[in-house]
C-alpha cells in the first residue's frame, strides 16, 4: 500500500484508532521520566510541565539578506542580530554589529521567523503510519475533553526532522484528530528532537482545545449517535451546559473532562474548531456565545471566504490549506482564492498543513494562495503573506508574545532560506530554534536522525 487517496487514509485512520482504543489496556511502556531534565520540574500544579530549555547558540549577525519579520515588514539588505537565544535587534544594513558576533552573509538569501504550523498530528499519527502508531483519535465517545494530545506524541517521529529541514518549522501545535466533537487538549511543541515530550513542550504555551464540526463526528458515531449535524450541536450544547455548572461550582471533585471545559470557559484554553462550511461556522459562533467561550480559530475553514465579515467581527482566525478540494462533501466549495478573500475582508489568515508532507512546504502553499488572490486582483505583499505562517498562527496559539516575529526580546526562532521563501525553488539553508542552529543544509551532522531511523536504509540521508 504505497499511497492511498486521502479519503481512504482518513477512514482507515479513524477505524484503526477506534480499534486501538478498544484494547488500550494492553498499552506499552509508560512515559519517560522528565524529572531529571531541563530547568522546570514537574509538579502537581503544572502536570507534565515543560522541561525544554534552549540549546547553546553563538551570538550571530545575519547580514545582507531580505528580511521578512513576520509582522508584515520587509527589510532589504537587512541585519538580524541574536544572542542568548533571543532576537537582539533587527534593522537595515547600517545596524552596528557588536563584537563577538558570528557574521553570516545572507546576500541573495532571505530570513523569516521560524515557520509555525497550527495544525499538525506529528507524533500522534507518526510514521511509520502503522495501526500500532495511530494515537490521534480517542474515538470512543463523541466528547473526550479529558484526553491530552501530548500523551500520544511519539517524539521519535521522523516527521519532526523533515518539518524542520524542509519546512523551516520551529513550533507546531499537535491536535487530537477530528473523530470527536470534542477531541481533547492540544499541545504546542518546539520542533527540537527530544527523548521526552516534556522536552519539546513550548514553555508557557496555553493549551488548545480541539473541537470538530460536521462530517467526521457524524460518520464515526453514526451507529450510536450523534449521527446528524443537529445531533452534533445537541451533544455539544448539553456538554457545555454541564461544564458551566461544574465551572460555577467548587470544582473540588476532579473531573478531567470538565477541568478542560472549565479552562475554556475561563479563557485559559484556546478553542481550535475543525469546521469546513460557512453556515456551520456561523452556528458554532452562536453556540460559543450561548456557552460563553470564544473560538480562537476555525481549522480547515475552506468556506471562510463566504463569511469573511462574520469572522472579522468575531475576531476568529481561519487556518486553511491553499487549495485542497473535493475529498469530501464539506470540501466541495473550497477555492484557491479563500485566503486572499479572507484577507480582503480584514479577517485573520493562517496557512496550516494537517499533513506530515504538507508541513514541509507551508511556504509554497502560502505562495499559491497569494498568487490565486493576485489573479483575481487581490494583491497581498510578500511580507504580509509570511505573517500567515508566523505571527498569525503564533497569535492563535497564544505564543505571539514569545515567537512568530523577529522582534527584540523574542525567541530567536528563524530560518535562513537559500532563496525567496515564496518560490518553489527555495529551501531552508539554516534553521535556529531559540538561537541554537538545529539545521544546517551544508553540515550533514546538523540534521536530526530519530532513534527509529538509526541503522535503517537511508539513515542520515538528505531526505
Amino acid at each position: 500500500m504505497g499511497k492511498l487517496p486521502m479519503h481512504y487514509r482518513a477512514l482507515l485512520t479513524l477505524g484503526s484508532a477506534a480499534a486501538l482504543a478498544a484494547c488500550s489496556a494492553t498499552g506499552g511502556a509508560g512515559p519517560a521520566s522528565a524529572s531529571d531534565e531541563g530547568t522546570e520540574t514537574a509538579s502537581p500544579a503544572v502536570p507534565f510541565a515543560s522541561t525544554y530549555s534552549a540549546y547553546p547558540g553563538a551570538p550571530t549577525a545575519l547580514v545582507g539578506a531580505t528580511v521578512f519579520d513576520g509582522a508584515g515588514n520587509r527589510i532589504d539588505n537587512g541585519t538580524v542580530l541574536f544572542a542568548d537565544g533571543k532576537v537582539v535587534e533587527v534593522g537595515g544594513a547600517s545596524l552596528a554589529i557588536p563584537d563577538g558576533y558570528t557574521r553570516i552573509d545572507g546576500t541573495g538569501k532571505y530570513v523569516t521567523p521560524g515557520i509555525i504550523d497550527i495544525h499538525s498530528h506529528l507524533g500522534d499519527y507518526p510514521t511509520p503510519s502503522v495501526a500500532a502508531h495511530a494515537d490521534g483519535n480517542e474515538a470512543t465517545s463523541p466528547t473526550t475533553p479529558e484526553v491530552w494530545a501530548e500523551h500520544s506524541v511519539w517524539p521519535q517521529d521522523p516527521g519532526f526532522s523533515r518539518a524542520l529541514a524542509n519546512g523551516g518549522v520551529t513550533s507546531l501545535q499537535i491536535l487530537p484528530g477530528s473523530a470527536n466533537l470534542m477531541g481533547g487538549r492540544s499541545v504546542t511543541l518546539k520542533n527540537v528532537p527530544s527523548r521526552t515530550v516534556q522536552g519539546m513542550k513550548f514553555p508557557g504555551a496555553p493549551y488548545g482545545f480541539k473541537m470538530a464540526c460536521g462530517e467526521n463526528p457524524k460518520r464515526v458515531y453514526s451507529s450510536r449517535g450523534p449521527s446528524t449535524r443537529m445531533g452534533n450541536f445537541a451533544v455539544n450544547r448539553q456538554t457545555w451546559a454541564d461544564a458551566k455548572e461544574y465551572a460555577d461550582g467548587d470544582r473540588e471533585n476532579r473531573n478531567l473532562a470538565k477541568e478542560t471545559l472549565a479552562g475554556v470557559l475561563d479563557g485559559d484554553i484556546l478553542v481550535h474548531n475543525h469546521c469546513y462550511r460557512a453556515d456551520e461556522m456561523a452556528q458554532v459562533l452562536d453556540m460559543a456565545k450561548e456557552a460563553g467561550y470564544k473560538v480562537t480559530a476555525f481549522h480547515h475553514a475552506v468556506e471562510s471566504y463566504k463569511i469573511g465579515d462574520l469572522l472579522r467581527e468575531a475576531d476568529v482566525c481561519s487556518a486553511i490549506w491553499a487549495d485542497w478540494w473535493g475529498f469530501k462533501m464539506e470540501a466541495y466549495d473550497g477555492i484557491p482564492e479563500n485566503a486572499a478573500l479572507i484577507h480582503q475582508a480584514g479577517a485573520c489568515v493562517i496557512v496550516h498543513s494537517d499533513s506530515a508532507n504538507g508541513i514541509q512546504r507551508l511556504n509554497q502553499e502560502a505562495a499559491k494562495a497569494q498568487a490565486s488572490g493576485a489573479r483575481m486582483g487581490i494583491n497581498i505583499a510578500d511580507a504580509e503573506v509570511i505573517r500567515w505562517l508566523t505571527l498569525n498562527p503564533a497569535k492563535a496559539m497564544g505564543i505571539d508574545g514569545q515567537t512568530g516575529s523577529l522582534e527584540a526580546g523574542k525567541m530567536a526562532d528563524m530560518v535562513l532560506w537559500n532563496g525567496d521563501p515564496l518560490s518553489v525553488y527555495s529551501r531552508p539553508e539554516k534553521v535556529w530554534v531559540d538561537g541554537a542552529m538545529l539545521f544546517d543544509s551544508s553540515d550533514s551532522k546538523r540534521r536530526p536522525v530519530s532513534d527509529f531511523e538509526l541503522g535503517q536504509p537511508g539513515e542520515g540521508d538528505v531526505k
Binding site: P5, M6, T127, N166, Y305, L341, S423, P457, V462
Partner: protein, 433 residues
C-alpha cells in the same frame, strides 16, 4: 495577419479570446515565446510554436510561421506542451467521501483484472475542469486494487471540454505488490507472489485454449484480460516500494519474458537504480516522498527521482489521488529542481523536471511522441503560462487541446466570482450568477 502583428502583450488575453471565436481556431502560431519542448531539453527563448489542424507543425527557434496562419507575439511568455499525469483519478469521482459518486476503487465484486475504467470516465467531472485549468491535458486513470492484487485496466484520457475523453481504453493492467499486495492476497508477500504467478499461468493457459475453468482461481473475464499482459500486448504497472521487492519484480521477466513492466512507487528505487536502468523498466514515482510512511519505504527520500534519472532510469512523477489535484505536478517537479541547491541532494535540471510531467509519462502511457512534446505530428495540446510553469505562483493563461481553445472555468471559478464581495443589499447571493 498584419493586424495580428500589431497586437501587444497587453492585448494578449483579448486576442486569444477572439482567436477562439474564429473559424480557424485550430491553426495557431505563437512567436516570441519561451518554448518548452518537453523532451528534457532546456527552455528556448524567442521561440515559435505552430499548430495546424489540431497537430503541432513545429516548435522551437528558427521556426517560420506559414503565411496562411495568423500569429500572436506572446512577449516572452512560456509555452509548453500540455502536462501529462502518469496516474491519477481524474474524472472518476465527484466527491471522494461520497461513495455513490466515486469509482476510484475497483470494488469487491467477482471481477478484478477484467475491470475496465473507461466507461466510468466522466468528461464533465470537476476534476477534469480543474486539471485542464491547471494545464493538464492528458492523464492515465486507474482504480485502486480492492478485491485482489489486480486493480484492473486503466485508460488514457484527455481533459478536453468535449464528450470524447477516452483516448485509449484498456491501456495497461495494474497490480499491487509490496505491503498492499500482501494484504490483498491474504496477508503476506508470499501469498501475493503465488497469486500473481498463478494468474499469469492461468492467463497463458486461457490464451492457449487449455484453461480449465472449474479448476481455475480466476474468473473467465479476468483470465481473458490477463492474456494481454502475459503476451506483452498490454503493459503491466506494478506498484512496489521496497528495494528488495523491486528486485523481485525485475526478475519476473525471466519467468514471463514478454511482460512489459512499469514500476509504480519505487520509493527505494534509488537503492537499486542501476538494476532498474539495466532492465530498461520505467518508473512512475512520487516526487516528494521522504518519510518512512511504512516499512517498505524506510529509504524514502526526495532525491529518489534525481538519483534514478542520473542512473539512466526513465522516471515520471505523478500518482495524484484524493485531495491532491492533477495540476500539483508542476509544484512537485519544481521541488525537484530546488534540490539542486541543497548540498548532498540530487535534483533534476529544469528540462529534466518538466519531462517527468510531459514526455516521459506520455511515453509510459503509450502515447509517446503524440503528447507531452511540442514536436511535429504531436497533438496540439498547448499551454501558455503567466510565468515559469514549475513555479508555485504560476498558472495557465490559455490551454489548447487538439488545437482547440479550452474553457478554464469550473465550480470553483464560479464561486470565486460570486464571492468577490459579500454584498447582499439588493438580493441574496443565490441571484448572483
Amino acid at each position: 495577419m498584419n493586424i495580428a502583428r500589431t497586437f501587444t502583450a497587453t492585448l494578449f488575453a483579448g486576442l486569444l479570446a477572439s482567436t477562439a471565436a474564429s473559424a480557424n481556431a485550430q491553426d495557431l502560431a505563437f512567436t516570441n515565446a519561451t518554448v518548452v519542448i518537453g523532451d528534457g531539453s532546456e527552455p528556448i527563448s524567442g521561440g515559435t510554436v505552430v499548430v495546424r489542424g489540431g497537430k503541432v507543425v513545429a516548435a522551437g527557434a528558427n521556426v517560420t510561421v506559414p503565411a496562411d496562419i495568423p500569429y500572436t507575439d506572446v512577449a516572452g511568455r512560456w509555452i509548453t506542451p500540455g502536462l501529462v499525469v502518469a496516474l491519477t483519478d481524474v474524472g472518476i469521482y465527484d466527491v471522494g467521501a461520497v461513495s455513490g459518486s466515486n469509482d476510484t476503487s475497483g470494488g469487491s465484486g467477482p471481477f478484478n483484472a477484467a475491470l475496465d475504467i473507461a466507461p466510468a470516465i466522466n468528461p464533465e467531472a470537476q476534476q477534469m475542469k480543474l486539471a485542464r485549468a491547471g494545464g493538464v491535458t492528458r492523464a492515465s486513470v486507474v482504480t485502486n486494487a480492492r478485491g485482489s492484487i489486480f486493480a484492473g485496466q486503466g485508460a488514457v484520457v484527455d481533459t478536453g471540454a468535449d464528450p470524447d475523453a477516452v483516448m485509449k481504453a484498456r491501456a495497461f493492467q495494474y497490480v499491487e505488490l509490496g505491503e498492499g499486495g500482501a494484504r490483498l492476497a491474504g496477508g503476506s508477500r508470499v501469498a501475493a507472489h503465488v497469486y500473481l504467478r498463478n494468474a499469469m499461468r492461468e492467463a497463458r493457459a486461457f490464451a492457449a485454449g487449455t484453461w480449465e475453468g472449474e479448476e481455475a482461481m480466476l474468473t473467465r473475464a479476468d483470465a481473458a484480460a490477463l492474456g494481454a499482459v502475459v503476451s506483452g500486448k498490454q503493459r503491466l504497472y506494478v506498484e512496489v516500494e521496497r528495494a528488495s521487492d523491486i528486485r523481485i519484480v525485475l526478475g519476473l521477466g525471466r519467468e514471463f519474458p514478454k511482460l512489459d513492466i512499469v514500476l509504480v512507487g519505487a520509493s527505494e528505487g534509488w537503492m537499486v537504480a542501476n538494476d532498474i536502468a539495466a532492465a530498461g523498466v520505467p518508473v512512475i514515482a512520487d516526487a516528494l516522498d521522504d518519510l518512512p510512511q511504512n516499512f517498505e519505504q524506510l529509504g524514502a527520500t526526495q532525491s529518489n527521482v534525481g538519483r534514478m534519472v542520473d542512473a539512466g532510469v526513465e522516471v515520471s512523477i505523478g500518482r495524484i489521488f484524493g485531495e491532491e489535484i492533477p495540476a500539483y505536478v508542476t509544484q512537485y517537479a519544481g521541488n525537484l529542481v530546488a534540490l539542486n541547491n541543497v548540498p548532498g541532494a540530487t535534483g533534476l535540471t529544469w528540462g529534466e523536471a518538466f519531462a517527468t510531467i510531459s514526455s516521459v509519462p506520455a511515453k509510459i502511457s503509450g502515447i509517446g511522441g503524440k503528447a507531452g512534446v511540442l514536436k511535429a505530428g504531436a497533438v496540439g495540446d498547448i499551454v501558455i503560462w503567466d510565468g515559469d510553469p514549475l513555479e508555485v505562483s504560476t498558472a495557465p493563461v490559455s490551454v489548447y487541446i487538439d488545437g482547440v481553445k479550452q474553457p478554464l472555468d469550473s465550480h470553483q471559478s464560479r464561486l470565486r466570482e460570486r464571492y468577490r464581495d459579500l454584498d447582499e443589499s439588493d438580493l441574496p447571493k443565490a441571484y448572483d450568477w
